[in-house]
Each structure stands twice: as C-alpha cells, then as structure tokens.
Symmetry: C2
Subunit: 597 residues, 2 copies
C-alpha cells in the first residue's frame, strides 16, 4: 500500500531559511504564528493527513461515490469521520477572517496544509478546498448579511461550498452561459439551468451545500457582461440560521471519470432554485475570479502534492526492489541483486521529480506570501505590488505545476515497472488523479493565454519587468559568490531566454495575436523554468549558509545543493528549446487548412 | 463515441512515394503484393478494424475480463465474434511461413495492419499479436516436429500464444527466475513455478493456448546462462493433433490494471505442467529474444496507434466544439462561437501529435522493411546490414514511440477539456491503454540501456556509423535542393548533436559506465528525433515531387510539407537540450547518498 509522510521539515526550512518568516511578523495573523507555533501546527496537520486521510485514498478510489435514486450521494467509507476530524481541527478556516470564526492565520500556512492534504488524499481535499474558495469569494464580495449567515457555518465545516460555472455547451467560454435568474420581487432570484462538472456538488459530508452559481439575470446583456453570481443553498437557511427548507437544486447524475473517484462530480439541475446575488448585477465574473484565483493556487498545489506523494513511493520502491546490478559493479553482492536505486536512469527519474518538488514547494510559498502581503500589508503600494506579482504568476503556477506534477506521477509510476500499472500498488491512481489538475479551473492552455494575453501586458509590462528585475538582482548577487556562481549563471541564462521571448512577443504579437497564442504554452513553461530555477538558487544560497552554521544539517543541506545542481544541469537547458519554438511563430500551424487536419 | 478511420492513403503514400515499394519486388512474398493488391488488402483490413474491432473498444474497457472460480476467463461481449473474423480473414498469419499455412506476405504489411488494429482496439489486438510473436519464435527455434504440430493451428488462430517471462521477484532481471523444469525422461519436462503479468494468459477466444515459458532446468547454472525456453500448451495435443488432455497450468488470478481492461493479464501457475524444449538447453533467452524483438516492434506500433486514434478524435472535436473567438477576429460570426480549431494553442497540440504520427508511421515502415530484408534478402550482406540497423533502432522505436504516443494521447485528451476526463468520451481510455506500452516488453529505461549499453558498441560502432552516414547522405542530397534545404538543415543540426552525444559517450562512458546510464534515455530520444526528422525529410522530398506531378494531390501534399516544417521548427530544437543533459554526466545524481532520497 502507498505511503506518505508530510515534508514538514522542508516546509520549515523554506519558511525560516529561504523566505525569512520573521520578516513578515508585522502582518496581521503572522504575530500569532512564530516558527515554533507554525511547526507544532504543521506537525498536527501532518498527523491528520498521514493517519486519517491517506489511509482512505486508495479505498476511496476503488469505492468511489454513489448516487442514489433520490438524488443523494454517498461518499466512500470513512470519509464522514475524516471530514469531521478535518472540520473540527479548524483546518477549513485556518486563514479565514476571525470575525466569522476563522483563525486568521497566514494564507501561507493554509497553503502548506493543503499540499499535505492533497498528497494524502486529493479527492477528499477537494471537499474542504472548494469550501475555502467559496469562503474567499463570499468574504470579498457578499453583503454583510450573507456573510453573517454563511461564513460561520462554512468555516466550521458544517456547511460546504461549490462553484458552478460550466454548462454542457460552455466551459472556457462563459459568455455563452444560459442559466437564468429571474427576480422573485423580494430581492431573491429564481435560478434555472443545468451546470455540469460540479465538484462536490452533492454529498453526505456536510449539513448543507452552498452553491455559488453563475447565471444571467433576465434581460441582462449577452456575453460575459451579463453574468451575475448567486449563492444558492441546498437547504434554505431559516431565521434561526438552521437549514431546513429544501431548495430547487438537485444532482441529476454523477460523472464517471478517469480519477478523483472519491469526489462526486455532479450534473446539477437548477429548477427555479432560490438564489441571492453576490456583489453587483452583471459583475459575477469579477466576483467569481476571486474564487477562481484562490482555486487555481489550490490546483497548482495539487500538482505538487501528487508529484510529492508519487515520489515518496517511488523512492521507497527503488530502495527495496532488487533488480539488476550497478553498472559500476555490485553494490550489495550478498544479495541476489542490487536495489533499483543504484541505476543511474532510475536516479535520473527520481532527481527530476525531486528537483521539481523542492522548487515547486518554494514557488508555492513565494506566491502564498505574496497573497498574504496583498491582503494584509498595511502598505498600499506593497499590497498592490504583491497582488500584481501574484496575478502574473498564478497562471504559471497552475499550468506548470499541474503539467509537471502529472508528468512526475507518470515517471514515478515508471519506476515500478509492471507493478506501476496494477491498481493495488496505488501508483496509477496518482497518475489518474493528477490528470484532472491540468484541466479544471481553466485548462492549462487557458492559463497560458491568460499569461501572455492579459498578465504580460498589464500596467504596460511593469509587473513582468519587476519580476525579471527581482530574478536578475538575485542572479547578480549570487554570481558575486564563487560558491553560488554555478547556480546563478544558468538561471541568468534562462532569464535571458525568457526576456528574449518576451521581446519577441512585443515585436511580433501586437500586429498578429496568433503569434502570442502559438507561443503561449511554451512561454508559460519558460517562465516556470525561470521561477523554479530562481527558487533553487535561493535554496542553494540558504543551504550553503545553513550548512556553514549547522554541521548537523550538512547531509540534508548537501542534498538540497545537489538537487539544485541537477536542476541547473538537466532541466534549465530546456529554456532554449522553448525560445526557439516561441520564435518560430504561428505561421506554419495557421497555414494548415481546416480540411487538411 | 470515439471514431477511427484507418490511414490507408498515408500508408500507401509511404509505401509507394517515400520507400519505393517496387524496389523490393525481388524479395519472396513481395512479388505477390504489387501496390494495387496491397491497397486492396489494406482497405479490407481497415474495414475489419473500423467496423468490427473499434466498436468493441470502449465497451470492452468498461466490461473488462472476468475470471470464474474454475479459473476460466471470459473476454468482453463481442470479442469472440471479432476474434473469429480476425482469424478467418487470415490476418494472424499474414507474414508467416506458407509451409505452415501462412500467407508469406511481407512483414511490412503485417506491421501496417497491426497499427490499424491497435488503433481500433489495442486490448483486442494483443491476443493475435502475442500469437504472432510466439509464431516467430517457434518458426526460428523449434524443432520441425513442434513446428508441424503448433504452427498451422496458431497461424489459423485456432490456438493462440503467450510469452511467460516475469515472476513476482523478477521482471527486467531474468537471471533471478525460479521456475523449474525437471526432465520427465521422455524428452519432455515438468514445469513448475509462478509467472505474473501474462497477457492473454487465459481467455475464451481460442481452443488452446500455447504458452512459451522461460524456466531453469534442474542443475542448470544460475543467472541468465541457465534459462531455457519451453512450449507449454494449455491442452496437450494428442496424436490426432487435437488438443485434449488438460495440462498442469492454470490462471490463478487476473490483474486489476489501469487500462487494457479487455486483455486478460494473468497470474499463471505451473504445477508440473508438461513442456517441450524450444531450441537448445540454457539458450532460452536467445530464443525468447526473437519473440521479444518482434513484440517490441509491435509495442512501438501501439504507441503510434494510440496517438493516431486519439488525434483523429481530437481533430473531430476541435472542428465541432464551438468555444471562444479566434484571436485574429471571429471566423464563424454567424455562430455563437468559433470552433476550437481556430485557436493557435489547440493547433499546436494537434500539429505536435500529427507530426509525430506521420514520422512515426514512416519510421515503423522503414524498420519493417529492414525486417523483411533481414529475413528474405537473397544477399547475405544485405540481410546482415538490415538486421544490424533493425537491432539498433528497435529500442529507439519501442522507447520513443511509446513515450511520445502516451504524451500525445494526453495532449489529445487535453483538447477535450473537462470532457476528456469523462469515461464516455473515450479519450481517457487512450491514455490509460497507451500507458502500458511504456512499461511492457522491457520498460523504456531498459530500451535506452539496451541502446547505449549494447547496440551502440556492436561491431565496433559500425552499425551506428552506417545509420549516421545514411542520414548525413540524405541531408547532403536534400541540402543541394533549395526547396528542401529548410528541411534538411535542421535534421543535419540534430544529427550533429547526436554525433556529439555519441562521441561524449565514447570519451566518458568507457571508464565510467554510469555516464552512459545517466544519459541513456536522453540519447534514445535524441536518436528518435533524428530518425523522425530524417523520415520527415524523406516525406517532404516525396511530397514535393508528388505535388509537381499530380495537381490533385496538392492540398494533401502541402499538408505533409507543413507538417514536416512544423517538426523542424518546433520539435527538433529539443536535440540541444538532450545533448546538454547527456554531457552533464552522472556525477550529480550519483553523488546523492541513498539516505538523502
């Protein structure tokens, strides 16, 4: 059976040694979380993930969710108790506003716990995860009344949340959506239409389910400018705040999917269901984007999480499975064969995954700290700058961490040979589960388009320039140190490729936007390479310092330094291929006539 | 539901225009297959694949195989009739020796049919596919008596075949195998042991199942030098040739796998089962390699086949699904949105798959023709040279076509967005089915090691040099033609990288074999890039010539030329990253202590 151990030590290293957690102590919530408190909390969260959630991952996949003829849905055995433990531990509202019962702790800590949780059991984690995103949208856009009614129960986990965007004929292109909202005359609306692919749309974990639904108010403009956001509870809360009256929303079917079987993906039918407007009329996409940006970071985390879980299992197998002899001569001559780990090609696979995991974890934390700054800094300029960088990097995190997270799950499965293909070993589940993260919350091609089509141009390129300058400054700083130079120079070279690619877009995509579209995915991955290289440069720097001051940490720090070196030698060289592809433009692919495909 | 149309026109183009089929007419079997006969045959095979096999692909996946308490296994509904149609059409023995009822046609044609068949239904195709490999091993190594007894019935499909290598504790490292063979004194052996992952090990399609089993004769040396190959029939043929007596072999369980659900993957228990030696004692691996090399080409074909099937469905979806508007302005303003195909990033994905498919199909045919030459040329030198090149390229075909075939299935699934993740659309099945091809018949890491550890050094590097010279000659020839220069030069550059990588191994891997292991997978893919680039250069050359002589073919030929251009611009630039990784060597990954993983 698969194993999992939450990387608390690594999280703490990043927090303290790489990102200087104490530098943030002036922000609300951070003063409640000094390093020793954080560590105790992470250990507590890790325990829940390792002992409660992970043991249900494989069984949950095999059992899946069951929809009954009355439209109710049962989650797999053990999920109810696990959900209770998760809610009662206060994990859902870790970073939520204390005014409504949240703990008000840094978002960064919630991000770390979400990684552990998604490693242990991705399908389970989606239930509280969607609630967290719904909480964020309600906190930011709903009226005080709605906040007071919904937030405390959602934060406590008594009620859960969903997001309802997709319809059968529209996923990415929300302008086409048809779900209608007709004013009831009392300030509420009657919502009618069908939504598909609704994760956690119906289940038996919480007493009520709070659907956030995009719909078009009767008479509103066509396209994206006529879409509003509504809260549509499964049970309508009475005056007492108890959910009693059943609303006109029901689960019509659950989808049969490649993976995340333990999460119920529902067709939701709205038949005059009562809804309350969140935010302004026709500004629903704006409100939903709060939820989506939060959810995109959550999905990026899932990519890392599956890669980490798959890695740990592949490492264990590579140490235990005896097969073949080392090319340099037997390493365990007393045994019938050497362990897989002696083989360079097996190490290559493991190191590729590991280099990704360590840099992706840092990248997530870097972004999470920006999210905390964007929301909590007392300095408006700092809030704005942090929010800009976060906006720029969110599509990169979502697209790159899920693409590579999936690739790594496949790689880890490969280490198992034939056993990787057999369900009981659990490796193929990581692959199937990780696959969805490339698709939902905006398919990765949409992330890439968001990056090159919107985020690059924002504020006349000021944000992207600020990010390049930050990386360049770090490269320059580290290049001055002989010990760090071998890590800094490759990052500088990759940054150069990224800057050339950016320049190429400026010169070639204004007049011909297809040139941006044709290079978008490569650009996203090129930026991911630079960001991850930058993270490993910071890690190498911190590791060298730590090693000098703490002899006990030497083996562990050397491993970090080797991992960084591996990334520079073997992963960063891809930057040149990305640049070559981007610079080749759109002409060839666009010249192909439709009928020739 | 998924669609599939066999690419007969493309196969014929390759056969006639690219590889000059008529140049082979002096070989046995080829004279029976002039182009018009070949085309009629391919059309007939395509019909069977499209109308009989493909409609059972999705249902077969959902139903899977069932093992009954008595150890018998039932295949999915419809498989029996399909198998009957396949056998009776003579497809199993297409290339087999006419002395035993085969049609004696070129192996190349069997390869084409196997591609179509594996596109239509990979799990089904494995049943006759394994029989074909077993036929090849028996034809080459068994005694005349065994040949006469088994081949006619296997060629007709009345009996089917399997290969039994893997045991619970050994997959790659066959030297560890424990299955025993004890002489019965009458020339037969009693075989005892357990084999796992036996594809088509037990089923209800054929009257008898002929297991080819690796086992160690009592007293034989340890390791790979003490392994012999046996034929162990499920039913022991009586004097009349009818299979009656039940042998001591049974299916203990079927595996629950990620994909290829319609193929029964069995745990086979041998309990003193009667077996007959094939070839010499202790030379079993040698005999099995005939079967494995044949099977490896078949698996390479599966990678291409899944990529092709996934591509066709993604293209159809991209033409039909309306979502968003073209970046350059609406293309179908009368409709609510443009089809996906207007988006450059969607075209990028489709073109990447297409460029692979066209070059991989050519690469398969190139290798198949070598296989025909190696077996049938009247000229010994030509036989030997062809066999050398085939040996060199077999691991490249297996490793690259299955790695990329899987990636392409994932890419095609991505075109479908959320629908790609739902079972009923069929795209996720291509991904799950394609995944196994990277693992079985020698995991791709083993293919890479075979290439750099064995094949490169063979005959003092003469074979690989011959291949490089062939590519270089074509590059030189085409560079002289202005129209072909843009295709020739990038192939020349990639060949340069491959030659540098080869030189690097020569200088760095002799003393330190880990340097070869660390670069092996990259080297395999680098050679794949060069080979596929070479194929597209030949295709572009043929397409330009065809276009000049046949105006009706212009649109089709232009599409081939654009596809080649896309490959040169966007895929070939990866060669430099492979070279950089190879040249970085093994030091970093080998420096990581075991406990640090």
């Amino acid at each position: 059976m698969p194993v999992y151990q939450a990387p608390v030590r690594d999280s703490m290293f990043l927090l303290n040694e790489v990102f200087g957690w104490d530098r943030y102590s002036n922000l609300p919530g951070f003063s409640d979380a000094p390093p020793d408190v954080v560590e105790a909390m992470l250990i507590e969260g890790a325990k829940l993930c390792e002992e409660v959630l992970q043991p249900l991952n494989h069984s949950g996949d095999l059992e899946g969710c069951t929809r009954h003829p009355d439209g109710t849905v049962t989650t797999p055995k053990g999920f109810n108790d696990a959900y209770k433990a998760y809610s009662e531990g206060g994990w859902i509202g870790l970073a939520a506003n204390p005014d409504h019962g949240g703990q008000g702790l840094p978002y960064t800590l919630a991000g770390i716990i979400n990684e552990y949780s998604a490693s242990a059991n991705m399908a389970f984690t989606m239930y509280p995860g969607l609630t967290q995103s719904a909480i964020a949208a309600i906190e930011e856009h709903a009226s005080d009344e709605l906040k007071a009614l919904y937030l405390p129960k959602m934060i406590s986990g008594e009620w859960s949340g969903t997001m309802n965007l997709t319809e059968p004929h529209c996923g990415t292109d929300l302008g086409l959506l048809k779900t209608k909202a007709i004013p009831n005359g009392d300030g509420t609306y009657a919502i009618s239409g069908q939504k598909i692919f609704i994760s956690a749309g119906e289940h038996d974990l919480s007493g009520n389910i709070v659907h956030l639904v995009l719909a078009r108010i009767e008479g509103a403009p066509e396209g994206t400018k006529g879409i509003s956001l509504f809260v549509v509870p499964k049970h309508i809360p009475g005056d007492s705040g108890l959910a009693s009256e059943i609303n006109g929303v029901s689960c019509g079917a659950i989808e049969h999917k490649m993976g995340i079987h333990a999460n119920s993906t529902c067709v939701m039918n709205y038949d005059g269901a009562k809804g309350w407007l969140i935010g302004e009329e026709n500004r629903g996409l704006n409100a939903m984007f709060v939820m989506m940006n939060e959810a995109r970071l959550g999905v990026a985390n899932q990519g890392l999480a599956q890669s980490e879980a798959a890695y740990q299992n592949a490492v264990q197998y590579a140490k235990e499975r005896l097969q073949g002899r080392a090319l340099s001569g037997p390493k365990q001559p007393e045994k019938p064969a050497d362990p897989l780990l002696v083989h360079p090609d097996v190490r290559r696979m493991l190191m590729e995954i590991r280099a990704f995991n360590e840099s992706a974890r840092a990248f997530m934390m870097y972004a999470s700290l920006k999210a905390d700054l964007a929301r909590r800094s007392p300095d408006e300029k700092q809030r704005e700058e942090a929010d800009d960088i976060l906006g720029l990097l969110t599509p990169v995190l979502k697209g790159v961490l899920t693409d590579k997270g999936f690739e790594n799950a496949v790689k880890a499965q490969q280490v198992f040979g034939g056993h990787g293909y057999i369900k009981e070993w659990g490796m193929e589940q990581f692959v199937r589960d990780a696959r969805i993260a490339m698709i939902y919350e905006g398919a990765n091609g949409i992330q890439a388009l968001d990056l090159v089509g919107r985020k690059l141009a924002r504020k006349g390129g000021k944000t992207v320039t600020a990010f390049f300058n930050e990386v360049a400054a770090s490269v320059k700083d580290c290049s001055a140190d002989e010990a760090l130079k071998p890590y800094a120079e490759p990052v500088g070279a990759a940054l150069g490729d990224l800057q050339k690619a950016t320049m190429w877009f400026m010169q070639n995509a204004m007049a011909k936007p297809d040139n941006a579209g044709a290079g978008s995915t490569d650009y996203m991955h090129l930026m991911g390479l630079v960001a991850q290289g930058y993270m490993l440069l910071l890690i190498a720097k911190a590791a060298l310092a730590k090693k000098a001051s703490d002899a006990d940490a030497a083996v562990w720090m050397d491993a970090k330094i080797l991992t960084a070196k591996f990334f520079m030698e073997r992963i960063l060289p891809e930057s040149a291929a990305h640049l070559a592809r981007i610079s080749s433009g759109a002409d060839t692919m666009m010249a192909m006539p439709e009928e020739a495909f």
